[in-house]
Symmetry: C2
Subunit: 219 residues, 2 copies
Amino acid sequence: MFTLAEENYVKNIFHLQQLSPEGVSTNAIAEKLDTKPSSATDMVQKLAEKKVLTYVKYKGATLTEEGRIIAAGIIRKHRLWEVFLVEKLHFQWDEVHEIAEQLEHIQSEALIDRLEAFLGYPSVDPHGDPIPDKTGNFKKTEKKLLSKLREGQKGICVGVKESSSDFLQYLDKRGIAIGTEIVILEKDAFDDSMTISIGQSQHFITKKISENLYMQTVD
Amino acid sequence: MFTLAEENYVKNIFHLQQLSPEGVSTNAIAEKLDTKPSSATDMVQKLAEKKVLTYVKYKGATLTEEGRIIAAGIIRKHRLWEVFLVEKLHFQWDEVHEIAEQLEHIQSEALIDRLEAFLGYPSVDPHGDPIPDKTGNFKKTEKKLLSKLREGQKGICVGVKESSSDFLQYLDKRGIAIGTEIVILEKDAFDDSMTISIGQSQHFITKKISENLYMQTVD
DNA sequence: ATTATTTTTTAGTCTAATCTAAAAATAATT
DNA sequence: AATTATTTTTAGATTAGACTAAAAAATAAT
């Protein structure tokens, strides 16, 4: 069994790994978990002893298969609870995250199985992110246009539809490239324009742009 | 805000207080929480500083009004979640306790309000125990037959169904009268006989007796 | 009323998880 | 290549919560 702190580290290392599969730095972990790098180092060393990740000094951490399954289990719980909160308790999609952050740590296999059945075996959460199955497998979502994503969803840019240099320059100017993570903050129902965030900065995007960017929603 | 450990102490002290309103001993607390008396002393001293209880060395602890409200809030959450688990996820009443022990610590006012509405504002949990309202008040439950109580429940004798002198003498002999507190120690599923405790003494009671005594369950 | 027993508290350790400050390794620049 | 800057790790301290062993208070028994 793992402590709450350990679970949070494993889950966040999993997410960070999507962005840097070669290994996650203790600094990145510390920033994600809002803690100090030295604390992250300590925990990573402990988790390495517990075999949930491999860790090479100064090089970073990588989850083992066991660690990956643990992370998927937590994410599974988080997303199922989010579906419950939105579908059954009628919360807004942007209100559920911090409650699900707590609920994801409830320990009971039976509870999650029954919750999943109660919700009708949903495949995605209210943000459109896939819900892994009991064995920790994420159904790969195929790439889709940025314009198809909804408010609150995030994804990684995996390609462009149009490739004129004007367009590529436009993207470059805003720091959008293959591998860039984009979060949809707002989406206008009338003209399909959207406000997105890339790292720390925010941008306003028209339909013409969002219809030419291929995205993949992340695990 | 209170830690998980603090919440568990407050909740359990509340329950123990029903049985000994003059003050709860650190030994009793330690036993209930499956910890050592010295740990209980430490925590009780800390909680006294936080004003959730008053504590006199060697005499025991008593919740303050603030402490009582905190305890009621936790019990409220526990019991609402139990209703959810039984009514919506179709758990058996005896499977839900340990899951509810975890869920009762989820911090979100909005969550509990919505859960309560979703469940149709139930007044009792699956064990028949009352669910306190948002302000921490327990609605007095109506009287029910002793035979309807389950193992571990306690109540106060509020009347008799049959009033033959034989029966009344039987009760008198065992020290049972209006106002007497009775705890169900054991209940046999086969013949519905039960072992009860009254003050310090224990008695064996047949179904015939338990079906003729009206009880009121306490908080 | 004085012992003996039980209950309760204190004092000192221990572990998990964090922090600060300093040292060591890596990366970037001249 | 040498120096500077950044990243990462180590060492030592801190806090919450629990534990053991011993002391002190309360209760029970002689």
